[in-house]
Symmetry: C2
Subunit: 369 residues, 2 copies
């Protein structure tokens, strides 16, 4: 589809009012764009930094139509945009990344099937819908394994690990007896992610690859560069490019990977994809010439993709819950960028902010966590 | 006065809706703050990125009172805030930098007198209010000299150069016969500026010093580092610290300097001061750990001042008038950050945006313009 680059002054619509929408809304004005945020009523920190906002349900077709009439393109900060919402908007305005990316990312079975068909390495998986299914799948895949709901999983929600056959029924209950996928447990040596952009012209630009640590299934820290072989970096980029091309993707995409070291060789398995800017790319705000947020805006606006290269090594760490109260101590640290999301309530585990420590290029290459 | 650091979530009031207010309003949310912009109706690009705005005259005391009641501190993006506006606000809320900085910066005679009393080197100057005054002053100071209105001068407006005694009357007409200062013309070898912050606790943190070029009295380019001796950098910082201390200043301050090379020695003269973030500090957005905009927010919020150190060398260039239409070409340049201010109309000479080319530290040290 022909899409003229949006001129400065154009309005970009963003579905979702959380920290990702907020950081997109802070990046867009650098290029002269204005933002209109659409999100259900609630604590929406993105509203504070945007030109306009609509607080309405994703099912409110009249509100969606008004929103669409005032924007030049619509994007989203999260993958669980209802497909009816996306369809309603697509009748009125360009939505990027498009519906196919949402369809695949919203359903773990669709996602794994899509990845397998592309030839992307994933852990063995099977669709399951009951205890007997799970027991049979466990026999084939082996244990330990992880039971994951097909839909609405994030930060470890909707997951249960199964270590013995007797645990299948308990796991099925734990995930709410929802349609699920049983996946082989991957004893990974490291977690990586590819944050990359695909432009409207098919151009593909990955950032350097971060190495990630999770605690209680929530991202704790990302460091760049990752301590992996150059060939692994190239392989990861090729995987992400294949996925982006396969989806006809426009925007920034995140691909979470497991790294396994077997007899000195590095192997990769894709864990999941996120059709949006990603927590493990927040360091790009302070360590790169163009951040993931500006890159996403460039891509959906039809602009040339920006230079993703780093001027610094970096370690990004999330501020969860009351950790955000540490702002005064962190603000004193040299070479440290502090980001606070402006959320009203610091619930335990809630992502309230992050900080990124910068180091000269090459300074943290060989260092441990 | 005791001033507890503002907690994230607090609202910062900003007088002025132009690009400086906009970049302050984009920096404050990084620390969790919200912004309320106050500016007269018109083209106010800062409104597009702030939580709230008031479009009202600076003389509207009722609107000022409503504005003050909803913010924790007030700052400004320009030095020509009417003193009555500042006084009205100061009765209701903390204003930073304070009234003394405005008083001195609004009147070239007050400014020069203040600087002289501090022992800061300035070009010879005299207050003048008529052709005869100017002729007498020209005899004392020598020619060429520059006639400058005491008030409301910026980007070369309100200035006229006098090269011969016969030009005095013409210069007096050219500046609108307003109260003025006659200054000796300085045949400078380079223009520098100090961009520095002073905190509520008296802490003083300068950025590295840019070397600036003007065209038609409007800033064209700033490059960092400046090609000056280390002792000159130290001297310039000492001058700025003396000025900031002398004003009891809180926030980011700019001091414009002339550099003269005489028999191999570098001498400095202060040209003028600006009690605000400054065009010649825009490169800090992309080349420093903390930008001048975040630093100003930190200072007025009572936060610890941030690390001003650079991770990159940089050259910043303004986009004036229709030059902003170059965005697509600039967006393709590697290691280049593009900033577009979102102004509606690209009038000739109007500051519409800027771009900053980054280079590794040390890469541009010896290079020409």
């Amino acid at each position: 589809m022909a899409f003229e680059p949006l001129r400065p002054g154009a309005v970009i619509g963003i579905l979702g009012g959380g920290q990702l929408g907020r950081m997109l809304a802070l990046a867009a004005p650098r290029l002269g764009f204005r933002c209109h945020i659409y999100a259900p009523p609630g604590d929406n920190p993105a509203f504070d930094v945007s030109c306009a906002h609509t607080a309405a349900a994703y099912e409110d077709e009249a509100a969606l139509a008004r929103f669409a009439s005032g924007v030049s393109v619509v994007t989203y900060e999260f993958e669980n945009v209802p497909s009816a919402t996306c369809a309603a908007l697509e009748r009125l305005v360009t939505v990027a990344p498009g519906r196919e990316a949402l369809r695949v990312a919203q359903d773990r079975l669709e996602e794994k099937t899509f990845l397998s068909r592309l030839g992307v390495p994933v852990a063995p998986f099977t669709s399951v819908a009951g205890v007997q299914d799970i027991e049979e799948a466990a026999s084939r895949i082996g244990l330990p394994a992880v039971l994951k709901t097909r839909r609405f999983g994030y930060d470890g929600k909707g997951q249960a690990k199964i270590v013995s056959r007797s645990g299948c029924a308990e796991a099925w209950s734990a995930i709410g007896k929802a349609p699920a996928v049983l996946e082989a447990f991957v004893p990974f040596d490291a977690e990586l992610s590819v944050i990359a952009a695909r432009g409207r012209d098919g151009s593909f630009v990955p950032f350097d690859i971060p190495e990630n640590w999770h605690e209680n299934h929530i991202l704790r820290q990302s460091r760049v560069p990752a301590r992996v072989a150059p060939e692994t970096v190239g392989w990861a980029g090729d995987i992400a490019r294949g996925i982006a091309d396969g989806l006809g993707y426009v925007g920034v995409l995140a691909v979470e990977l497991f790294l396994l070291r077997r007899s000195g060789r590095e192997e990769l398995l894709v864990n999941e994809i996120a059709p949006r800017v990603h927590n493990s790319g927040h360091w790009t705000l302070d360590a790169c010439h163009v951040s993931q947020f500006e890159q996403h805006i460039r891509a959906i606006a039809g602009w040339p993709l920006g230079d993703p290269s780093r001027h610094s090594d970096s370690i990004m760490q999330n501020l969860l819950g009351l950790e955000v109260d540490d702002w005064e101590r962190l603000a004193k640290e040299p070479q440290t960028a502090v980001h606070i999301y402006g959320k009203a309530e610091a619930r335990p585990g809630r992502k309230m902010g992050h900080f990124t420590r910068l180091h000269p290029l090459g300074a943290i290459a060989g260092k441990g966590k």
